[in-house]
């Protein structure tokens, strides 16, 4: 097996397969401060993100429910891990860096905090899969902005 799909390792690294199969944060939060949905009509992926803030306004916890591919689920889960303890503006900056990495496959601005997200950089080869990776982030950012409605993913990736 491994031989045949060796060239898949760049895209489907073990960490993606693992988080895609067994997301740690794949659940609706019992109590939450904000939520938002993301939707990619082109492929049918759907995600909802819930947020709880700490007293200092940083993100205390993130949960999500996703219907989608391994990449979107893994991306949501890795996102949830990464943003824990961060401020809103930190998170927005992180998304910008992540999005750039997903689009281009490289990350000049990456610091160690991005390490957890780096396995997702392989999607840059597939513009349509880039959207899978960024969908949960769009929902997160919408939730942070306090737009709890139905957030559509635009096709601008």
């Amino acid at each position: 097996m491994t031989e045949t799909f060796d060239d898949l390792r760049d895209l489907y690294q073990e960490v993606i397969l693992d988080h895609g199969r067994r997301p740690r944060h794949g659940r609706r939060l019992e109590t939450y401060d904000a939520t938002a949905k993301g939707d990619n009509p082109m492929c049918g992926d759907r995600v909802q993100v819930w947020l709880r803030y700490a007293p200092d306004g940083t993100i205390a916890e993130t949960g999500f429910e996703a219907r989608g591919c391994a990449i979107s689920v893994a991306s949501a889960d890795l996102m949830a891990e990464t943003v824990q303890g961060r401020s809103k503006s930190d998170t927005a900056a992180l998304f910008a860096t992540f999005r750039e990495m997903a689009r281009t496959g490289v990350c000049p601005a990456c610091d160690p905090t991005m390490e957890r997200l780096a396995p997702l950089s392989g999607v840059h080869e597939y513009p349509s899969r880039v959207k899978c990776a960024t969908l949960p982030w769009h929902a997160l950012v919408a939730a942070l902005a306090g737009t709890p409605g139905d957030i559509k993913e635009t096709s601008s990736e």
Partner: protein
């Protein structure tokens, strides 16, 4: 393979099949989305642009006359292909979507009356749903949906009962599902519809790729399809309709070529089919489409259909044996389009993993969201075949799918 069908020779007609993808030979199993183009189609387009290109229908010079002839020869070729009674029954549009919208606008708003109904089926492409929804919302036409059974076949009893109240003016239904492969019983549909006073339009985008379409034998009133799936160029589609119906329909778009005379007060329309062909048409694409039709005719529908049946049987046998696979659609009469899901892997991941091995399939809702809902899925993967598809390619697909599942199961 049947004896008369030499797929190796046919593959030589398609330059793209020599491509490798990521160092692996291309296995193109996405012909249902769009077919590859044989050399003769590419050459016809190039030859037109290099030796005689000009705008058509109103030029008096040599190139315009030659190009007009070549473009109009496409109409003859298509009329023959479909066994139309008259070449003037062939209207060229930009795609089947354009053709279906033409009928929805012109026949729908010009001939159907508010309070009448249009019947579609539960396995339509968005192109044969949305135009009728727009007609419903703007013109007070009721939209009815004929259900399918679990095998993916049209429920004929339910279909007939939708027509019972005599309100249905038009049945617009796929001749072959782009998701399930189901071929619908065209002649029976027409008999039932006509008995209830309804006209019938077939979306033949998939069907005409796979079997001979004889509009007179089918007895329908409209038949629409799209060039790029029949090995032809993008940017051109076909609407066939009975001449008397076309004549009764008001024009859809206004512009050059579709008029007889224009004054500010009043314009009069050209004869059919020109009444429906406003503006400079897809000239080079029409000429390419003729080459595609000639190509298909030279292979012959009988040989193509036999080849496809062999492929489809083999594919269903091989894919069914994969653990955790689910194949959608088990119609008696079906074409070479197979949708499936794997239990451990999402359709998009499947498509991407296959792509890494050079295998092109489609994954998603296939522009048929209501059907997806009926099937209880968000998306499926779909393999679809063309004249150039081989049994070996299907084996590669099946073997790779087995490994894809293992990859996601470990």
């Amino acid at each position: 393979m049947t004896a008369s069908f030499d797929v190796a020779r046919i593959r030589e007609d398609f330059p793209i099949l020599r491509q490798t993808i990521r160092g692996k030979p291309l296995v193109y199993l996405d012909s249902g989305a769009s077919a590859q183009k044989p050399r003769v189609v590419i050459d016809a387009m190039v030859q037109c642009m290099e030796t005689q290109y000009a705008n058509i229908h109103r030029g008096l010079h040599w190139m315009s006359e030659r190009t007009t002839d070549a473009y109009e020869a496409a109409r003859d070729a298509v009329a023959t292909l479909m066994n139309a009674r008259d070449r003037s029954e062939i209207v060229f549009t930009n795609s089947v979507t354009g053709a279906l919208n033409l009928v929805a606008h012109s026949y729908g708003r010009g001939i159907l009356k508010p309070g009448q109904a249009v019947v579609i089926s539960a396995m339509e492409h968005h192109s044969n749903i949305v135009p009728w929804q727009m007609l419903r919302d703007s013109h007070g036409i009721e939209l009815r949906v004929a259900p399918i059974d679990d095998a993916g076949e049209l429920d004929m009893g339910a279909f007939e009962s939708l027509l019972d109240d005599g309100k249905v003016g038009l049945v617009s239904i796929t001749h072959m599902s782009n998701v399930l492969g189901t071929v619908t019983p065209a002649e029976r549909i027409v008999k039932i519809a006509h008995a209830h006073g309804a006209k019938v339009l077939f979306d033949g985008s998939q069907a005409i790729v796979h079997r001979r379409v004889d509009v007179q034998a089918i007895g329908c009133d409209f038949y629409a399809w799209t060039g790029h799936k029949l090995y032809g160029p993008t940017g051109i589609g076909v609407l066939w309709a009975r001449r008397e119906i076309l004549e009764a329909m008001p024009p859809f778009m206004g512009g050059g070529d579709m008029i007889s005379s224009v004054t500010y007060e009043k314009s009069t329309w050209a004869q059919v089919p020109h009444k429906f062909e406003a503006g400079t048409p897809a000239i080079v694409e029409g000429i390419g489409l003729k080459a595609a039709v000639d190509y298909v005719q030279s292979i012959g529908y009988e040989a193509m259909a036999a080849h496809e049946a062999t492929l489809t049987d083999h594919a269903i046998a091989r894919l069914s044996a994969i653990e955790g696979i689910k194949i959608y659609g088990r119609a008696q009469d079906r074409g070479g389009v197979i949708s499936f899901t794997l239990d451990k892997a999402h359709a998009h991941d499947v498509a991407t993993l296959l792509d890494r091995q050079g295998i092109a399939v489609r994954a998603g809702h296939h522009c048929a969201q209501p059907l997806m809902q009926r099937l209880g899925v968000d998306s499926t993967s779909r393999a679809s075949f063309g004249v150039y598809t081989t049994l070996e390619e299907i084996d590669v697909l099946a073997d790779t799918l087995t490994r894809v599942r293992e990859f996601f199961t470990r």
